[in-house]
């Protein structure tokens, strides 16, 4: 599959990573060979199996829906805060 530079740009936008013109070019070439390698799995025709989201079977594991107090200060690692809140850039 040919990977166009516009595809790389589109993916970088979806992935929320700004990349340079140079990287776009480089990634387009690399993605082509990596995706070719991924496509090896097309050789497997047997598809009538359940996808293994986990390597071992895990049943839903719930705990009581009870509020617990944080034992640590979640704001200790940010400089973007105001009072008890995180502060972020504007959303709209």
């Amino acid at each position: 599959m040919k990977i166009e530079k516009t595809t790389v740009e589109h993916v970088s936008k979806l992935a929320r990573i700004k990349i340079s013109e140079e990287e776009i070019e480089k990634f387009a070439n690399q993605f082509e060979s990596i995706l070719k390698f991924f496509s090896m799995i097309d050789e497997i025709k047997e598809t009538d199996v359940e996808p293994a989201f986990q390597p071992i079977e895990i049943k839903n594991s719930y705990r009581e829906d009870e509020a617990k107090k944080f034992e640590w200060d979640p704001l200790s690692n940010t400089k973007h805060k105001e009072g008890e809140y995180f502060k972020g850039p504007r959303v709209v």
């Binding site: 993605f31 990596i34 390698f37 991924f38 293994a52 390597p55 504007r90």
Partner: protein, 465 residues
């Protein structure tokens, strides 16, 4: 001077007259010297906190891979985006070690978020192989293996593997690396790479060391919903058990494309297993070649969602708040992520995109199921699988630099299949090629750590003779 083994040290440390301050001073001094020489650390802990509790690991120096959270000690996962991050809590495995009296002496170097096979994809220090400084230590737990080999004091490393990040560096440094079954050790406090593949394990100088540390860190944890509810086990109890009559499978596919001399050393190892009473038989695992592409699709897909949390707001790198949310987010990640992280997040995003999701991501999960079934069939007749850990010995830095990304991924061809299936595995040294260590890989069925550990232990004893 002979370095005391962990076992000898623990006896000594029990004594009331043990000089802890003197010992600590020596350990810290030694760590600094090793850092100058081989750079296995991202952070050295100058004053390790001493637990009042002298449990099963009294005063034993333990290093922790830098993607595992340590309260009050910088934890970066090898990424610039987490520079200066000081976790306000301990990972469960670290908590367990501290409870048993262990000392956290430092955080070890790794590829950024574990994205690498050689521990050369680093924002911080790149460890050099203590056997030959021109060569890499392997990855992504390269710092852990480097320190384990270089340490002139008793020590065990907490490491972590997604697709072979414990086995590979153990093989390249001639140490013992144990990766447990998926879910056996709580991942709470681990900075995830791929949730369905990440396993916390250990690297030590000998089999006893990894069995001991596993006994401490394994166990159910309600803070990790994928943690398995199994009762606490002392894995050192298995070591002295008889191995006579056990049967191991030798899969043909695992010797294809492997350095001839490495294959030879592993076959020498299989002959040693035969000498201690273990039978072997060659088998075929035809799906082996499909493990690598499925693994990389799943790992990158999961990584791309996991790394979304690094958005420059709550912790880690932050910039001046300007522009809208998406602009700010994209910019922080441009500055904070290295090239391989960008590549993997983008590829992971691509394979989950509408129109591609079924062909790549969902298909990879189905292939994974088929591969698990193939392994299960082998384990219905055999106790373990034996293969080379890596197809090469530790390469030189200059040779690694020349590799294209996809060529780097190919290096994981032998470690990935069991990791994709969440199977426990252990790499142990079984000989040398051109004076560089070769690792033999023992793979067990889910939760059969005891079995592969006792084979490894009995092998080690015979091999050393």
């Amino acid at each position: 001077m002979k370095v005391r083994s962990v076992r000898e040290f623990l006896e000594e440390a029990k004594s009331e007259s043990f000089d802890l301050d003197g010992f600590l001073e020596k350990v810290v001094r030694s760590c600094k010297k090793i850092q100058e020489e081989y750079s296995p650390f991202i952070t050295i802990v100058e004053k390790p906190s001493k637990s009042k509790n002298r449990g099963k690991l009294p005063y034993l120096p333990i290093s922790v891979k830098d993607n595992i959270c340590t309260k009050g000690i910088q934890t970066t996962a090898g990424s610039k985006i987490l520079e200066g991050y000081i976790p306000p809590f301990d990972a469960t495995c670290v908590e367990n070690v501290l409870r048993e009296g262990g000392l956290i002496i430092g955080k070890t170097a790794m590829d950024e978020f574990g994205f690498g096979t050689f521990t050369t994809n680093c924002y911080y220090s790149i460890p050099k192989n203590p056997i030959d400084k021109r060569r890499v230590c392997g990855g992504s737990s390269g710092g852990a293996a480097c320190l384990t080999l270089a340490a002139d004091f008793p020590h065990i490393a907490i490491a972590q593997s997604t697709g072979g990040s414990i086995a590979c560096p153990s093989s390249f440094t001639g140490t013992v690396g144990l990766t447990p079954t998926y879910g056996l050790v709580s991942r709470f406090g681990l900075i995830d790479y791929a949730n369905s593949l990440d396993k916390i394990g250990c690297i030590g100088k000998e089999v006893y060391d990894v069995a001991l540390l596993l006994s401490i860190i394994a166990g159910y944890d309600e803070k990790d919903s994928t943690s398995i509810n199994k009762e606490k086990t002392d894995y050192t109890k298995f070591l002295e058990e008889n191995v006579k009559g056990l049967k191991v499978a030798i899969p043909r596919e695992y010797f294809e494309g492997v350095d001839q001399e490495i294959s030879q050393r592993v076959w020498d190892g299989i002959k040693i297993l035969e000498r201690i009473g273990i039978e072997y038989e060659e088998v075929s695992l035809p799906l082996t070649r499909y493990a690598l592409p499925s693994y990389y699709i799943i790992a990158m897909a999961e990584a791309s969602t996991n790394l979304a949390k690094f958005c420059g707001l709550r912790y880690g790198l932050s910039l001046e708040l300007k522009g809208n949310f998406n602009e700010y987010f994209s910019e922080v990640r441009e500055v904070g992520f290295g090239e391989e992280a960008k590549r993997r997040v983008m590829l992971g995003t691509f394979v989950r995109m509408a129109g591609y999701r079924d062909a790549y991501y969902l298909k990879a999960l189905k292939v994974r199921k088929l591969i698990i079934n193939e392994f299960k069939k082998v384990f219905s007749k055999f106790d373990a699988i034996v293969a080379p850990t890596m197809p090469i010995v530790a390469p030189r830095f200059e040779d690694v630099e020349k590799l294209e990304p996809v060529e780097v991924y190919m290096m994981d061809v032998l470690t990935v299949p069991p990791e994709l299936a969440g199977l426990p595995n252990i790499s142990i040294p079984c000989g040398y090629v051109r004076n560089l260590p070769v690792g033999m890989h023992l793979i067990g069925d889910h939760f059969q750590e005891g079995k592969i550990l006792k084979i490894a232990y009995n092998f080690e004893r015979e091999w050393r003779k």
